[in-house]
């Protein structure tokens, strides 16, 4: 696991665990408190409904009492009911009385249970229904739910019983108010409280204790027709927990949003901190990976005062030591190689020169004789030896030339190589100011970028060395030129150093000539050879005390 992943994971754990504990606790507490509140509300509503039913019952009783009084005083009703006249008045009586009394149900029966007049079902006269008053009389509190019949459909009524005596006959009044959806709606204004009525014949769905708070009260019920006994009807009050569920969902959503925001913030913060920590380490690792024996110019600088800064400085010091050791090793190898090469060349050339010297001595001895013939004869005699030696030397030169392979030729952007070289040289220079003036739109040149970089490194290095620790500047310029219609790229490395005398200039390109302490004397020699290999030209403009300008011109590629 990477350092960055560990940092992020640590952030997540530290932030999320407390948040989760807090959220779960809030949900649990909220659910328990709301459920308790709902239970209190349901119980209160059940009490209100019970009181309301009792109030309704008292109202019905008072209206029935008023009606019995009016019926007793109505002579037209008395005649119609006892003597059989004015049947239309009798049949319409209950309807008119029911409307005047504000009832929804009114049935007048005689002492045999025969319907004399009915308000809610005018034309059910003469039907026998003795069971209803009998059961109503047996109902606790004298009140019951009655299923009343109409032509269109039966309806439920909260009914009571009353009676009056006319002459020798007793008449029973069953009156009530409709228990319809409006009645039930009046029991509660709270849309979250649901009041339903369950008759004995109904099959209510099982109470969902997880989704509802339920309570109920029982009311006597008289079914339509010849019902034998009172049955219990239930008024069920339910409080849906839907609002609690909605609240839970809201809390969950808010909690999830908080978690998401927290996670996002933690990720951003953790990412920033981990990047702040890991980036310098990654850069150090990258730079360290660039180090090898051929590439020891990697710089390690840091102004940080923390562990990363100390590590950077340690790596820098280690690289410096490696660089010094590598330089010493290269110098030793070079000296060994140069020595071996010099001895081999010396041996090989001597092998070629010894026969020639012998021939030359022979010729000198022949020349000291008299007349030209001995010399000519000796020359003819030793001509084959001379030619053989010359051929041997030529082959020798060719073989040495083959030790250096021809460079690669590819299209190369001069400015990019200049910048790359500046970057590399600049990191280790620290001896003077480097300036660059690069021209745009330069044509590409066909050469090995490594060769070009070596040319520039040598020239810039010499220019910096020429400053000799004095204030000065080295300027690298690129420009486009032409040579007989062909484009050329001109690279100028100018310094403000000590410059060269004419004698120094004449020997500047000789092998092993150097004016610097510790120099090999091969730098400019190699530069010239590399420029010539690239089909280019090298010029020098210099004067003592006025600095030097080394101008390299390389053929450009036509577009």
């Amino acid at each position: 696991m990477t350092l960055r992943a560990r940092i992020l994971l640590g952030f997540g754990v530290v932030v999320l665990v407390p948040l989760l504990v807090f959220g779960l606790r809030v949900r649990t507490e909220m659910a328990s408190r709301l459920t308790a509140e709902y239970e209190r509300r349901v119980a209160a509503l059940v009490a209100v409904i019970r009181a309301d039913l009792e109030q309704q019952s008292a109202g019905i009783a008072s209206r029935l009492a008023a009606l019995t009084g009016a019926m007793a005083a109505d002579n037209r009703f008395r005649i119609a009911a006892l003597q059989g006249g004015d049947r239309a008045y009798l049949l319409d009586y209950a309807g008119n009385a029911m409307h005047l009394a504000g009832l929804s149900m009114l049935q007048i029966q005689d002492d045999q249970g025969r319907v004399v007049s009915s308000g809610h079902f005018r034309n059910e006269y003469d039907r026998l229904e003795p069971a209803q008053p009998r059961l109503l009389a047996a109902a606790p509190g004298g009140m019951a739910l009655v299923q009343a019949r109409t032509p269109e459909a039966p309806f439920l009524a909260l009914a009571r019983l009353d009676s009056l005596r006319l002459g020798r006959r007793r008449f029973t009044l069953i009156g009530g108010v409709a228990v319809d959806s409006g009645f039930r709606a009046r029991l509660t204004r709270d849309p979250e409280l649901l009041v339903s009525l369950a008759l004995p014949t109904d099959t209510l769905p099982a109470a969902d204790s997880a989704g509802q708070v339920v309570s109920e009260l029982t009311v006597p019920f008289v079914a339509e027709g010849e019902s034998a006994e009172l049955q219990p009807a239930r008024i069920v009050v339910r409080h849906s927990l839907a609002s609690l569920g909605a609240l839970r969902r809201g809390v969950n959503l808010a909690f999830l949003a908080a978690v998401a925001v927290t996670v996002a913030i933690a990720l951003v913060l953790g990412g920033a901190i981990s990047v702040r920590i890991s980036r310098p380490l990654a850069q150090l690792a990258q730079r360290t990976s660039e180090i090898d024996m051929d590439r020891l110019d990697v710089a390690f600088h840091s102004e940080r005062r923390d562990e990363v800064g100390a590590l950077t400085r340690l790596l820098g010091a280690m690289t410096d030591r490696l660089r010094t050791g590598a330089a010493k090793l290269r110098e030793a190898e070079r000296r060994i190689a140069m020595g071996d090469l010099a001895r081999q060349v010396n041996h090989d050339i001597k092998n070629g020169l010894i026969p020639i010297r012998n021939v030359f001595r022979h010729l000198l001895e022949a020349a000291r004789g008299e007349g030209p013939d001995p010399l000519a004869a000796a020359l003819r005699d030793r001509q084959g030896t001379i030619e053989s030696s010359i051929s041997y030397l030529e082959n020798l030169a060719t073989n040495y030339a083959r030790l250096y392979p021809p460079p690669a030729r590819e299209l190369c952007a001069v400015n990019e190589v200049v910048l790359e070289t500046i970057r590399r040289v600049g990191e280790v220079a620290g001896r003077g100011e480097l300036r660059i003036e690069l021209a745009d739109g330069l044509p590409a040149v066909r050469t090995d970028p490594l060769v070009l970089r070596r040319i520039l490194e040598n020239l810039i290095g010499n220019a910096l060395d020429s400053l000799e620790s004095r204030p000065g500047a080295v300027t690298i310029l690129t420009a486009r030129g032409a040579d007989g219609g062909r484009p050329i790229v001109r690279i100028t490395v100018a310094d403000t150093g000590k410059g060269m005398t004419g004698e120094e200039l004449n020997r500047a390109f000789d092998d092993f000539y150097t004016t610097k302490p510790g120099g090999t004397g091969l730098g400019l020699s190699i530069v010239r050879r590399l420029v010539l290999d690239a089909n280019g030209a090298l010029r020098v403009e210099t004067a003592p005390g006025a600095g030097s300008r080394f101008i390299v011109e390389l053929p450009g590629e036509t577009a």
């Binding site: 049947r87 239309a88 005018r122 034309n123 003469d126 032509p151 269109e152 027709g225």
Partner: protein
């Protein structure tokens, strides 16, 4: 500004007045009776006999709407009364079934079961044009093309018609009233004693005015539409004639000495129409108690004057073949009625209370249009219908029943009748065979 077509109509009426016989001209004696009897100038069917000219304007209260587009074929009792004043048929039938002259002054039986009708000499349209045999056939062609095609013009005022298969009353059917289209498509031009002159004051749509033709001894008619429960209000507002079956209005009029309560004929019968051949068993119930279920004036259903109710004689008519629409099993336990008909609602409720369709059956009132649709479909348990007890052409009346009727059962329940509440001194008012009152000149 009087519209152009009314100016033309007024001019026509003036011309007709110059040529019409005077008001004192008696109706011609009725021809030899092809039907039950000869109308006499007796008072058997007369309700009131005040002087026609005694009052210039009389107010008629109507409890149902009147639509000019229905003329001359009425669709309710109010239209029947109004159209009866405006349009004439070849003959009339009085309350006792006696045939009276109408547009035709005489008729006689011809050869090959044909009858020849001779039009009245003074018969004219409202615009003054004389009524010809061609006009009669043109009017019939609009509403009974078969009869018109079978009839022939003998002369300008004589036409020959085939003898009807049923009793002779079809020629008094309002369908065969003689009219001609009016310019502008308003009230058809008729030949009756009144013509409609327009709406009431300030153009009220609930009032019509009908003026008598010139030199006809009839008052101007002010026809006011009252709400179904506004009968007593109409009396208080000075109605001269109100035909109603509202018990409260009848009771109220009894306390008003200026009004005479004249019961009209038992002209309506309520029946229980049920699909299928298995009757709901009304006869087994206490059917006599049905009479008390209805708020209006009712009696137990009785047979018609001819011996049987016309709706039991449908076998004589060329109706569609008997077919039970859906079968008995699919029917619902509902007694359905037109919810605008209170007596039908009372009867349906009583039938449910008596358990006609069994326990659990209900009565359901439907608005007129859904009721008609349900009746045509025949998918309900039973229907409470109000039928005319006397019809001029029972085969044609049978067409108003649903097609499946001949495969169903029709059981009469109660007969009902209306009462004419007439202000004393009202002009001569008679009752015709259909129970409709008619204003006649003296």
């Amino acid at each position: 500004m009087i519209p152009l077509h009314r100016q033309a109509l007024f001019f026509g009426l003036l011309v007709a007045a110059c040529h019409a016989p005077g008001p004192g001209v008696p109706l011609p004696a009725p021809p030899a009776p092809p039907a039950p009897g000869v109308a006499a100038s007796d008072t058997a069917c007369t309700i009131t006999a005040g002087r026609a000219a005694g009052r210039d304007t009389v107010t008629i209260a109507l409890t149902e709407p009147v639509d000019a587009s229905h003329a001359p074929v009425p669709r309710n009792d109010a239209e029947r009364w109004v159209f009866g004043q405006l349009y004439e048929t070849l003959m009339r039938v009085d309350c006792q079934g006696r045939v009276l002259a109408g547009l035709a002054k005489s008729w006689e039986q011809g050869a090959r079961d044909r009858w020849t009708f001779t039009l009245r000499d003074d018969a004219r349209f409202w615009d003054g044009a004389p009524v010809t045999a061609r006009d009669v056939l043109a009017a019939w062609r609009l509403r009974d093309s078969v009869l018109a095609q079978a009839s022939a013009i003998v002369s300008d005022r004589v036409l020959s018609v085939p003898a009807p298969a049923t009793p002779f009353q079809p020629f008094a059917d309002p369908r065969l009233a003689v009219t001609k289209p009016a310019p502008g498509g308003s009230w058809p031009i008729g030949t009756g004693g009144h013509w409609v002159t327009g709406g009431g004051e300030r153009g009220a749509a609930d009032m019509l005015w009908a003026a008598p033709l010139p030199k006809v001894a009839l008052p101007v008619l002010r026809l006011t539409m009252v709400a179904p429960n506004g009968a007593r209000d109409a009396l208080d507002e000075g109605a001269d004639l109100l035909v109603t079956d509202d018990a409260a209005a009848l009771e109220y009029a009894a306390a008003r000495p200026e009004y005479v309560d004249a019961p009209l004929g038992w002209t309506r019968t309520y029946v229980l129409l049920s699909p299928g051949r298995d009757p709901p068993g009304v006869a087994a119930l206490r059917i006599e108690s049905l009479r008390q279920a209805v708020h209006g004036d009712a009696r137990s259903a009785e047979e018609s004057d001819g011996g049987h109710a016309w709706f039991t004689e449908l076998g004589q008519c060329d109706l569609l073949p008997a077919r039970d629409p859906i079968g008995a099993q699919a029917r619902r336990h509902r007694v359905v009625y037109n919810q605008t008909d209170r007596s039908a609602a009372d009867l349906a409720a009583r039938l449910v209370a008596l358990g006609v369709l069994g326990r659990g059956a209900v009565a359901t009132g439907l608005a007129p249009t859904p009721f008609e649709a349900a009746l045509r479909a025949g998918t309900e348990g039973a229907y409470v219908l109000r039928l005319r007890r006397r019809v001029f052409d029972f085969c044609r009346a049978a067409l108003e029943l649903p097609p499946w009727s001949s495969a169903g059962t029709i059981e009469p329940l109660v007969d009902v009748r209306s009462h004419a509440l007439v202000r004393r001194g009202f002009p001569r008012l008679t009752v015709d065979w259909s129970g409709t009152t008619r204003l006649l000149p003296r």
